[in-house]
């Protein structure tokens, strides 16, 4: 992480925070219950939840309390996730009745969140390429009672054009996952350059395909959980240069930072300041980078 010393604001605080475990966060599943009822039920069996404040569906659970072996979890009344994962869906802003493509959907945290925002009305195409990860997606869609999702198994870079007028596409791209360093301390080590080259090519391919598939005027959100500008602003600049799209400003309900236009001798499209970066010490969670495109 040392290479980010001059990129990440308040770097010393960042370092302190990433060396502590992230709090457990749950999202109330409004397709089956309400946040109030869920909080009351869990309190009754000994879980003292704290509302996150910026999202009425999110609560933190005190660390060390295993909440997955509860009846409420079995019944699909909540989903365990990172707080920052919710931000990508906030930015996507799906609406009931829309047609959404979640290009890298597994294990389904964001897909099920999207379904909640849509009140289980409309259509979600939830795609992923890995069979093992798709099993988790199936399980979560079932448990949370999502009935509007069609699951497909395809490399998102080659997702077929089926003439569907997608209103919104989420590209929750595979990445070097540095934002998950609190759960996986080995991520403090530098990323292997060959992996970085490979993953950037995958990210570009996914974003390119999303922008090809979206309807004119539709929204594509590109999100990662890494701090690496090459995988973030670098990929966004590539899309701005090659595809008919523009960036849309993002309003976050939490503290965040604009995308960076230069770093470590690299320069990117000045428009990338419309992207957002959220660091673990901003929201006591993982990390997030997001860009919101409108197709021209």
């Amino acid at each position: 992480m040392e290479r980010y010393r001059h990129l990440i604001p308040d770097y010393e605080k960042f370092l302190r925070v990433v060396q502590t475990p992230a709090p457990t966060v749950i999202r109330a599943n409004t397709l089956k219950t309400s946040p109030e009822v869920l909080a009351a039920r869990l309190k009754k069996i000994g879980y003292s939840l704290s509302a996150l404040g910026w999202d009425p569906w999110l609560f933190t659970v005190p660390n060390g309390e295993s909440i997955s072996s509860t009846l409420e979890h079995w019944l699909g009344h909540f989903y365990i996730q990172e707080a920052t994962s919710a931000l990508a869906v906030h930015i996507l802003d799906p609406q009931p009745g829309e047609i959404i493509l979640d290009l890298c959907a597994a294990p389904g945290g964001k897909t099920t969140h999207i379904a909640q925002k849509m009140q289980d009305k409309g259509l979600i195409i939830a795609n992923d390429r890995t069979e093992k990860r798709l099993r988790a997606l199936h399980s979560n869609l079932t448990r949370l009672g999502v009935t509007i999702a069609a699951v497909t198994e395809t490399d998102g870079r080659r997702f077929p054009d089926l003439g569907i007028p997608f209103d919104r596409v989420l590209v929750d791209a595979p990445c070097s996952s540095e934002g998950r360093v609190r759960d996986q301390p080995q991520l403090l080590e530098p990323v292997d350059p060959s992996f970085l080259r490979y993953i950037i090519s995958v990210q570009k391919g996914l974003l390119r395909r999303a922008l090809e598939l979206i309807k004119v005027g539709g929204v594509v959100v590109y999100a990662t959980c890494t701090f690496a500008p090459e995988e973030n602003e670098g990929v966004v600049s590539y899309a701005l240069q090659r595809l008919p799209c523009e960036l849309v400003s993002i309003e976050l309900p939490v503290p965040g930072h604009p995308g960076v236009t230069e770093w470590n001798g690299l320069r990117w499209n000045p428009e990338v300041v419309k992207c957002v970066r959220v660091y673990p010490h901003d929201v006591n969670s993982g990390g997030l980078f997001a860009a919101k495109f409108r197709r021209l």
Binding site: W74, I99, G122, T147, A150, T154, I164
Partner: protein
Amino acid sequence: MASKLVVPKETCVALIKEHFLKRFGVAEDILNHYRFFFRGNAIWMTGANPLPPWSEEKIQRLGIRLLRNTGKGWKPSTPALQLLSRFVTANRVDVTVSEWLTLITGDSVVPAQASRDQLSPGYVALCFKGEVVACGYFEKGRLVLATSRQGVQSLSSIFERFRSARAEDE
């Protein structure tokens, strides 16, 4: 690989709705919100609108599984019963913590006479404190659990916790 999706005829859809009405008391208009299709030996339901424009092997799943033909009849899936929980008014039976723990081991339990009188042989909705938790099977006056092996493991942890926490107020 997933087999082809087949959209049933209207007469089949009517039979599906009639089955849920007769067996579980679910009013037909509740199911009018969904569309149904066959895949293999199962019937799935989806609220997707529009439907994906292709209904072939490309789709691994669409919606949730509603029923599966087990040879002993049409078994409703546990997630479908949970989803329809508040509309299930027939063939539902409340099960105590100790009975759940028995069912989880694979053994059967004899429900109380009052509950037994409300059940007819076949698949039933097993409840805990009024909520549908899983699918069961009722035959010759005895109940057994009818959910996946993975589901049994999860339920085991849940009801062991209930027992150790003495949370039940039976």
